[in-house]
């Protein structure tokens, strides 16, 4: 059953690939029996059907969605008891959310459920569910540490979910209509974001609590949330990354410039990762189209620039990304938001084994093979030593002063000796310098837009794309400013 592609995973990954019986995860598969059954037969055994009962109480429980604001207020002034409260909230909430999705899997047509990729994800979810559900109430900081380690491991193991799901669902496209495919994928992705937000937030809070560096919180970093996001900074960051990607993919051809206007100094609270993922996708798309179709200026020879406008309203912020890349072809336009893909793209999915769906993943390593990007916005102390932190900037105690204050823009020293190794300790970092990451960013998977939309809609925003055939495309990414919208995922 284990997909052969996974076994060929690069050496940088450790515990993610499936090696059957020897994997410690496997040992958790059969709680009621100490006899090791071949994994292939586990799911079809009568035992599995009857064991499913343990899912019921969780499926019947309601999820407790939260708002960004609640996360922020909770995360400030962290104390031990609050931290434990957070741990227990995650401990109880994750299995509920997992259970709901597992039930969704179980509701898929049987034939779809037998697809090996789908099975793999299903099993991952089951294992995660069982492991977390078994944990008793967390009462001490040590127990919390163990809990965090476990969750980190799970997050890491689940990096295969997106490509596997996508692959599996595409292979099954003849069994289920496209609309259902999209519906299922959107649901899964929303839930995935929700679990990761919860988990990553708690782990980051734990790290901050442990590290002597409480200044991060004071400066507005609350776990993975940042309360002083400046559109200008975020656009500059992502434009740089997108330009790099496109330059590499274009064989050295210079990508178009990005112009920025509007309310660029507006500030708001959000999870920078989410915004960056979306902006990166949009800018990358725009650049790609312009590089392919843009008409160069007759005097300067330059490609038409991409215009990003920041629009600040009372409740929302919109980033408008406008290009003159010739527009999206009508046939592609109808498939813009769909996960069901062409066979060529299907093949691309088989080439990647892991996908975190973060910006960090996408960055092209520089020639010295140092990773340019390590962490998400968390501030684990070991990761602070990394040279090339993109976001957010490390606190002033960081001895790597390639970084100035957060007001000025990023000066990125990508050729500094790599601290990539320490990055690997972190479960969030997926940009260990492995060939895998090169592949991720140069492959055209075609699901960037629907995924971006799931991210955008997560806290009450949205993503719209309008094209003018023969001229260019405008994309509008809207985010709520006040963080008082509840998480948008299906119960």
């Amino acid at each position: 059953m284990p997909n052969s592609n996974l076994n060929a995973a690069p050496a940088a990954t450790t515990a993610s690939a499936f090696s059957p019986q020897s994997s410690p995860l496997f040992k958790m598969n059969n709680p009621a029996s100490i006899v090791k059954q071949p994994q292939a037969r586990r799911r079809y055994s009568p035992q599995h059907f009857y064991q499913n009962r343990i899912l019921d109480p969780y499926v019947h429980q309601a999820v407790s969605p939260i708002t960004l604001r609640q996360l922020v207020f909770f995360g400030r002034n962290m104390q031990e008891d609050k931290l434990l409260k957070s741990a227990n909230y995650v401990r109880t909430e994750l299995p509920i959310r997992l259970a709901h999705r597992i039930r969704d899997f179980q509701n898929l047509p049987f034939i779809v459920g037998t697809n090996p990729h789908i099975e793999l994800v299903y099993d991952l979810y089951w294992q995660a569910f069982e492991r977390i559900a078994k944990i008793p109430e967390i009462k001490t900081l040590e127990e919390n540490e163990a809990f965090c380690e476990m969750v980190k491991g799970l997050l890491n193991d689940h990096l295969v979910v997106i490509p596997q799901l996508a692959l599996g669902i595409m292979e099954c496209s003849k069994h289920i209509p496209a609309a259902q495919v999209d519906h299922f994928m959107n649901k899964m992705l929303r839930s995935r974001i929700s679990r990761r937000v919860l988990a990553e937030q708690h782990i980051t809070l734990t790290n901050n609590f442990n590290s002597p560096n409480h200044m991060m919180t004071d400066r507005g970093y609350i776990g993975i949330i940042y309360t002083h996001i400046k559109p200008k900074d975020i656009v500059e960051r992502t434009a740089l990354l997108a330009a790099d990607t496109c330059r590499q993919a274009g064989g050295g051809m210079a990508p178009p410039k990005v112009l920025l206007d509007g309310n660029i100094d507006a500030e708001f609270t959000y999870i920078p990762d989410h915004i960056e993922y979306i902006l990166y996708e949009l800018l990358k798309n725009s650049m790609r189209f312009v590089m392919q179709n843009g008409k160069r200026d007759p005097t300067t020879g330059e490609l038409p620039p991409i215009q990003v406008t920041v629009c600040e309203g009372t409740h929302e912020i919109v980033f408008r990304v406008s290009d003159k890349g010739g527009g999206i072809h009508p046939e592609m336009e109808s498939q813009l938001w769909s996960y069901a893909q062409s066979p060529a793209r299907l093949a691309n999915f088989e080439k990647i084994s892991k996908m975190a769906a973060t910006v960090q993943e996408q960055v092209a390593p520089s020639s010295s093979s140092s990773s340019t990007l390590t962490s998400t916005s968390s501030e684990e102390s070991d990761r602070q030593e990394d040279e090339n932190i993109i976001l957010p900037p490390p606190p002033p105690t960081n001895k790597n002063s390639t970084y100035q204050s957060s007001e000025s823009t990023l000066l990125l020293d990508r050729h500094a000796p790599s601290r990539a190794q320490s990055a690997q300790k972190s479960s969030f970092s997926t940009t260990a310098s492995s060939p895998q990451q090169y592949k991720n960013q140069s492959l055209h998977l075609g699901i960037g837009l629907p995924m971006s939309r799931v991210y955008a809609e997560y806290w009450g925003g949205d993503l719209k794309v309008f094209t003018m055939h023969g001229y260019g495309t405008d994309a509008y990414a809207k985010f709520c400013k006040f963080g008082n919208i509840y998480e948008n995922f299906d119960v």
């Binding site: 206007d261 527009g327 001229y471």
Partner: protein
């Protein structure tokens, strides 16, 4: 109980009700009898769906064959006229029937009744005219009849607007919307057929009576095969700017860019109407936003802005991004002497369609209003009983106040954009027009900044042959 008795028992005492005069009031009371079967007869007939091809193909070959002599032309004209003679009563009958299905109380509203009577009378006139159209005289007579009828229907939309405003509490919003959507679409179709017959006749007549070869080879009745959106935009823009100047004392520039040489086949009056509506909204919003923000030539970002004065362009540390906020070189941004940033209209030519994007810095639409802008909105009448108030939605910056309304109505009736004054109906009507030939219209509000409108118009060509009118 017949509608007639209902009408007379509702004798309206006030003589100054909106814009119905006394005589018109009397006419309203004299409404069709319940027992008249003719309408039902016609309504039950099959609508011969006219396809675009039919409507144009005839006309098309007519205009290109003009060198064959007037005989050929006449034959084409006669065909179209005969077709109109046959088809119009059927469509009118259906429309009348739909109106008859409205709730009784709504039907007694004087405005709705007036519209109903208009349609009914038109129906009677056409069915009374000779079925045979054999020669030029018959054609001329019929064309004149149609022309008169079309003119008499000029105020239908404002009347409906007023009528439904007054009936707001008697019908659910969705029902009103459905009725009006259907009615307006039917009306567009009816006018298209009628106008095509009229125009063709006029074209032919003009060609006959003038010694100079008509320069309008590219015009086929109501369709223009070489329509240049840029020209139309310019015309509508100056019209709208004038209106704005009259009303506010200043107006923004309208910048036209993109593929300005684009030409395509379309119905100019439709496009004219759409452009006027959208530009009117943008222009008015820009001016009001400037007032709100205290924008001026010296203060392009407004008085309250806490924006730090930034250099015109500066490159950030990485060379990928340039901040071009105060770019005086960029005419799509530069405020004019009145402090208004321009309205930017971009034209794009696709393979089968033309896209027009209109961007403004009018401050956008708030979330609450946004959901209502496509309603046939009859909002914010302060006093529910005081139905003589405007039907416009006064609190939205995209509504129209009374001065604007009066002036624009006059101007609209002067022929520009056709005799349709989309007052309070503006956006829903615009969208229906945009969608009529398979196009579409999308509006994005960037609240606090401005609005972007995307107008997609399909080229009227062979690919639309089967499109039913």
């Amino acid at each position: 109980m017949t509608l007639r008795s209902a009408g007379s028992s509702m004798a309206i005492t006030s003589t100054k009700r909106g814009f119905l005069t006394n005589t018109e009031q009397k006419e309203v009371e004299d409404v069709v009898s319940f027992y008249d079967d003719k309408v039902t007869q016609y309504a039950n007939q099959e609508i011969q769906t006219v396809t675009l091809k039919t409507l144009l193909g005839l006309g098309r070959s007519g205009s290109s064959n003009h060198e064959q002599g007037t005989a050929g032309d006449l034959a084409i004209n006669l065909d179209v006229a005969r077709y109109a003679r046959k088809e119009l009563p059927v469509r009118l009958a259906r429309l009348i029937k739909a109106t008859q299905k409205l709730p009784f109380i709504v039907g007694t509203n004087p405005y709705i009744k007036r519209v109903y009577k208009l349609y009914y009378d038109s129906f009677q006139s056409i069915t009374a005219s000779p079925e045979e159209i054999r020669n030029k005289d018959d054609l001329d007579r019929f064309a004149a009849l149609l022309k008169g009828l079309v003119a008499s229907h000029a105020d239908v939309v404002p009347m409906l607007s007023q009528g439904f405003l007054e009936c707001k509490k008697y019908m659910a919003k969705e029902d009103i919307k459905r009725f009006l959507d259907d009615m307006i679409r039917a009306r567009i179709g009816i006018r298209l057929i009628a106008e095509q017959a009229i125009s063709l006749r006029e074209q032919r007549h003009e060609h006959e009576t003038s010694s100079v070869e008509t320069p309008h080879d590219d015009i086929v009745g109501v369709v223009h095969t070489e329509l240049r959106p840029a020209d139309l935009i310019r015309t509508c823009a100056s019209f709208v700017q004038e209106l704005c100047d009259v009303n506010y004392g200043s107006s923004p520039e309208v910048v036209i860019n993109g593929q300005t040489d684009t030409t395509f086949t379309y119905v100019p009056v439709h496009l004219e109407y759409i452009l006027c509506e959208l530009l009117k909204n943008s222009v008015r919003a820009t001016v009001e936003q400037s007032q709100k923000m205290g924008r001026s030539a010296l203060n392009p970002h407004g008085i309250e802005s806490d924006r730090r004065p930034s250099p015109t362009n500066y490159e950030s540390g990485n060379s990928a991004v340039i901040v071009n906020q105060d770019d005086d070189q960029d005419i799509t941004k530069r405020v004019n002497d009145f402090g208004h940033p321009p309205v930017e209209v971009t034209i794009a030519q696709g393979e089968r369609e033309v896209t027009i994007r209109i961007r403004d810095h009018g401050g956008g639409i708030s979330q609450e209003d946004f959901d209502a802008i496509f309603d046939y909105s009859f909002t914010t009448v302060k006093n529910e009983n005081d139905a003589s108030k405007d039907s416009s939605s006064d609190d939205s910056p995209y509504g129209v106040d009374s001065i604007f309304k009066g002036v624009s109505r006059l101007a609209m009736q002067a022929g520009l954009g056709g005799p349709i004054a989309g007052l309070g109906f503006g956006l829903p009507l615009t969208r229906i027009y945009a969608q009529y030939f398979g196009g579409d219209m999308h509006l994005i509000s960037l609240q606090g900044y401005g609005c972007d409108v995307f107008l997609k118009l399909k080229q009227i060509d062979e690919s639309l042959d089967d499109l039913q009118i």
